[in-house]
Symmetry: C2
Subunit: 385 residues, 2 copies
């Protein structure tokens, strides 16, 4: 098992009616910036619940944080905080709003251009603006981790950032919020969480036995509830297991003591940047090909996964191959179209284009074994057409 | 799934060589009280590692915290802290030393008699003394939770306490420390952790699907590595999975959203108080009888456990019965003697004596379904003779 540090101070409140606890969580007499997205929270009643709970607080609203949040948008919120002496930011939304709010929190007191945080030329300092979240869309785990992804429109770059200073102070997760979500977002949430687990699990084999068991438990739960929760989001058993699985998939527990991959995400991000394909859908496109191209590296783990998660039997080789098929079938069952050609037109140059981007950035040697080079990226993407 | 709050700010550092990080974790110029037990840390080299790391700190030592730590002993440390302006307590030991240190931390600024904390007539205030831990004996999970158990010698009471103020600021967990542990302590550690999981799992059936999967993963890991780790504690794969499983068994994750039992512990504590039987061994004595007596309540979950953890097949009834047998066999494989008569003489009046104690305290209705009364406690203990 690899050495690790587990530190996660987020106060995570899960269940029905938890939004009413907001006044216990945000200091009184604090001026609050309420960040949210396109306004769906006004239709589904969550905005009203939050405003009722926050009665007595001075609140400034900042709406319009878009999916794949944009640097240019977020910097407007940064200006508001600087000008209006905001003391606390409350993100009400899904992964994009929460990721965006993390960046806002980090950027306000950044001594250089805040885009430096994304380019990793500036560190996130200790003087971030405190923030909490009310989760409205389970998927990314951002409500209980300290990282995020932001897109710079000007340069079409989708870049990740993170810091131990960027854990939400609290996150309120009420599974009932999923009732009003569009089916497509629920499908995306299940697949996003599933792939978060696989990125931390489908690696070279290692000896962190418990971590594998926990990862398999999240995968099994998502397989068990995923297809049903998109049909019946008002079923609380399904909704609660879905929401909690999404958090556990990426709250910093599964990667402890193990090697991690994340190359599916890195390639997938490029497809979102190029074609604006939903994040989860890019992962469903890339992963089956990636596991096929990197088969020799991942074969042992694919076989373990096939046996434990899908109850497959046979040789390591055959179970590992079948496990990839089963994974793609699960994605399809979750409404994903797993080929690039089913998601966009004019995809012919994708492999070359993405490979060139990776070359520009010097990204050779991706994946847990650092053996996914530009040639492999091309091969993976061509197989995904 | 039940509503829950997950909050655990302990900074958990796991792996080889982590003790050297102590100076990054304890503020400079702080006077440190070093708490430990009977002095085994001086034989196995851990004391030297700690003292080397803490070079430059002013250190006061407090040794002699015994297994099942005694209130009377701990109050001596409380006096030292009050008199010598100690700013930080570093517990170097197993569950007893860490539990004792938590109580010390809570007692120093307690405004009434600190035993009130144990009798739950005083709350733990915010002005606790900060403390961290270096774990030397995996078992109790105390290194990453906020509770403990202390025995009052004068009244022969073994009482639990806890507070969100009593999380260790950090815990250093280096699996290599187990190399020098006596076999009996390793056996106890595995069974203790296993029973911690079962207390939070072997309940009435519920719909927190992921929590069950995680619990089963810890059980499977302990079954996989338990018998070997007592034979080969210098095997790092075994040691690291053992230590991490012990923490995960009781760091406040498994009980989220689920009903919990804990009656095996409550009955077991009485056996330790009466006969000084090792804590883990009392659990191995009580649990099989408890699951047999409470069979109807726990049958569904016993059957799930039998199928998923022991791969048993058959009807719910037969798998559930066999799962109890398999559990007792696992305890025996771990060196436990699972009958009271194998652990002490003159046990004839135990059932009546313990039942009377429970009656005195008004402890009727134990367990997740609140259906373990005094009659059941008697029946369980008589079955354990």
């Amino acid at each position: 098992m690899l050495n690790f540090q587990l530190y996660n101070p987020t106060n995570y409140l899960f269940g029905k009616g938890q939004i009413a606890k907001l006044p216990e969580l945000i200091p009184a007499n604090t001026k609050v910036l309420l960040t949210y997205g396109g306004g769906s929270i006004k239709k589904n009643g969550i905005y009203d619940q939050v405003m009722t709970a926050l009665k007595g607080y001075e609140i400034v609203e900042f709406s319009g944080i878009e999916p794949n949040p944009k640097y240019e948008t977020l910097m407007k919120a940064v200006e508001i905080i600087r000008e209006q002496k905001i003391g606390f930011v409350l993100a009400v939304g899904g992964g994009s709003v929460i990721d965006g709010t993390k960046f806002i929190s980090a950027a306000v007191n950044c001594e250089t251009e805040p885009s430096d945080i994304l380019h990793r030329t500036a560190e996130v300092g200790k003087n971030t603006i405190p923030f909490g979240t009310v989760l409205t869309l389970p998927a990314t785990g951002s409500e209980m981790n300290s990282g995020g992804v932001v897109t710079i429109l000007a340069t079409q770059e989708k870049l990740s950032f993170g810091s131990p200073e960027l854990f939400p102070q609290f996150s309120i997760c009420d599974p009932e919020v999923i009732i009003s979500l569009p089916r497509r977002q629920l499908e995306n949430g299940v697949v996003d969480a599933y792939m978060h687990v696989l990125e931390q699990y489908m690696t070279t084999k290692h000896d962190a036995l418990l971590q594998d068991r926990i990862a398999e438990g999240v995968l099994q739960t998502l397989i068990e509830i995923g297809p049903s929760v998109v049909e019946n989001p008002s079923d609380y058993t399904l909704a609660s297991n879905f929401m909690w699985s999404c958090t556990m998939a990426l709250n910093g527990l599964l990667n402890k003591g193990v090697p991690v991959d994340w190359s599916t995400h890195m390639i997938g991000h490029e497809l979102t940047a190029l074609y604006n394909i939903d994040h989860a859908r890019t992962l469903a496109i890339v992963a089956p090909s990636l596991y096929t191209v990197m088969f020799e590296t991942k074969k042992d783990k694919l076989a373990q996964y096939g046996r434990r998660v899908f109850d497959l039997q046979g040789t390591d080789e055959s179970v590992a191959r079948e496990a990839i098929v089963k994974t793609e079938e699960f994605f399809q069952k979750m409404g994903m179209k797993t080929k690039l050609s089913e998601n966009t037109e004019n995809y012919d140059d994708t492999a070359k284009f993405v490979a060139d981007r990776f070359t520009e950035r010097g990204w050779t040697g991706l994946g847990e074994a650092k053996n996914i080079g530009v040639d492999q990226v091309k091969e993976i993407l061509e197989m995904s057409y």
